[in-house]
Symmetry: C2
Subunit: 345 residues, 2 copies
């Protein structure tokens, strides 16, 4: 198969956007690709199997005036993101044909990766392969880094997680429970709230859409206040949380998904709480913590094999469904970690 | 003198307020006091010499629905705050008549302190006594803790200080310069801006009132961005700073004086920068760092004796002028650290 020229379906990013992304911001085309890594390169040629839809990708659809933490997509080129793939051909000493890898790849059937240093070889295949763009990849690491490296979670802490049913949120809550914390999550539907309590072991959960007064809701679940707020949404929720934090509370800031599609972000008006409660807020990006990955992987593989952690994926079938799957996460249509199957091994 | 009954002028806090404090929110009265610590107490009886006017006192003039980091003043009772005093009588083993102390005292000529554990005995009197409610007290410690404990300042860091001519700000800039940082300050008058550059050695300074676009001003002085923002003002300045922070920047939050007198605090709309730049923002209260005081005192005494640090005080004469002096700091009327002389030793 290597060396052959084949057709290659691709999801093209059309142009920079403002506001909510729409399926029509992306276009499915078919081009050609030779299934071979160029001889004078370090590249690898991949057959993509799974693609990840993640909130941070919204930022890549915007044209930024100043340098941004992730590069914007290039209009007219394929979308890119985390994926799982099989190596078809390799000019890089770390990889050979047949290897399974995860890392940044293109939204297309086949990708030529010219800097494969950013790919990880998958060594353990007794767990579902798709987990490597989720619980065993950067998503799981995000939960872990935020909760422990920034949040310094310890037994007895009162932890609140927003977007708790999202890919990251479901893991944060379960890790916090394993550490002996009291954990409450918010989500956007009754179904998700029920699953948070019944499947993921959250102590309490509520539907933020049904709460007229978020401040009152938080007071109800945290009469003594919040030690750690794992921030995924921003805006009004952050404001309500700040009023309910305990002294010396920690807020790892993982995302602000409620704000990504607004032309003007909501204002947060009660930052004085930072002082009066000595709150530590810190944004983080999981890319900065790659060195912790081997330790994390061992820990999480053990949890998965022992069944002490649950994990829910929302799987869209086929590259054609990728635009709709991505758009869906910004309205909370996904149930659990959103991914797309491009091909089976 | 001890044991005698004398008249005692006092500044009484009349009632909780909203908005800017006014002189008429306080009232000068004369009562009586016996210059003796009660025999069955641990108390000390003080003759007050200097009183400190500090921004955090605004918070004590508000009635709070929830527990606050400092207690509100009690309507009908004297104001309290940091002061320097001479012990006239003592029932506490750590103090004796004639000692000079600094700590929390009343806004009055004489005070009975029933919990003198919060008073520090002044051991070094070769420096101006008033320094112990400023550069050698909690104010100096505030600059030190924010810059080093939270800000982790090191050589080469680009440091921005707002309210840079205030009591804390003037010290932050000088300490940062001594550590080899590039330092820029903002203040509210041409006079202050000139002094920041010429007296305190700031690399640059600007008058925020003359800048239509704070974001552009910060870009001018920090073309490569800000590593540490020592936050004293909040609101629009914080918003402009967030757009100009460098990756892994630190924001010790000491105060938000621009917000204290607003009924609704200004919203900060660009908190997503916390994530994209991995910013660490942390509020702090100097009371939590008392254990560092002996080390700080030695360091700062050395600087003062060697003349490597300058310090400007704005001294109001007489207890009668205390309400006006306090009100003045919220409109930036003071030039340097505001204090009130009640009596000379």
């Amino acid at each position: 198969m290597a060396g052959e020229e084949v057709s290659n379906k691709q999801v093209i990013f059309k142009d920079y956007i403002v506001g909510f992304p729409k399926e029509s911001d992306m276009e499915l085309i078919t081009s050609k690709i030779i299934l071979k890594a160029p001889e004078d390169s370090n590249g690898i040629l991949l057959k993509n199997l799974y693609l990840s839809c993640d909130p941070y990708m919204r930022s890549r659809m915007t044209k930024h005036d100043r340098p941004n933490y992730v590069e914007s997509f290039l209009p007219g080129s394929p979308m890119t993101g985390y994926g799982i793939a099989k190596v078809l051909d390799s000019r890089h000493p770390n990889f050979k044909a047949g290897d399974l890898v995860w890392g940044v790849t293109g939204w297309e059937e086949y990708s030529l990766i010219t800097s494969p240093e950013l790919c990880f070889k998958i060594e353990h295949t007794d767990v579902p392969l798709s987990y490597y763009i989720g619980i065993l990849g950067m998503l799981g690491m995000t939960a872990y880094v935020g909760l422990y490296e920034i949040g310094a979670a310890k037994k007895g802490d009162r932890v609140f997680v927003s977007a708790a049913f999202g890919g990251v949120g479901q893991l944060v809550g379960q890790l916090a429970k394993l550490s002996g914390c009291y954990v409450v999550g918010s989500a956007g539907s009754k179904e998700k709230v029920d699953l948070l309590k019944n499947k993921f072991g959250y102590d309490e959960a509520f539907n933020y859409k049904e709460e007229e007064d978020l401040d009152a809701a938080l007071r109800r679940y945290f009469p003594e206040g919040i030690d750690i707020y794992f921030e995924n949404v921003g805006g009004k929720m952050l404001e309500a949380v700040l009023s309910n934090m305990r002294p010396h509370g920690r807020i790892p800031v993982c995302g602000m998904i409620s704000q990504y599609n607004l032309e003007q972000q909501e204002g947060v008006h009660n930052l004085f709480n930072l002082i009066s409660k000595r709150i530590h807020i810190e944004g983080f990006i999981v890319f900065d913590y790659h060195h912790l990955y081997p330790k994390y992987l061992d820990m999480m593989l053990a949890h998965i094999r022992e069944g002490t952690i649950s994990y829910v994926e929302d799987v869209a079938q086929g590259l054609e469904s990728a635009p709709s799957a991505l758009v869906g996460i910004f309205s909370g249509r996904n149930v659990g970690k959103q991914l797309v199957v491009v091909a089976r091994v």
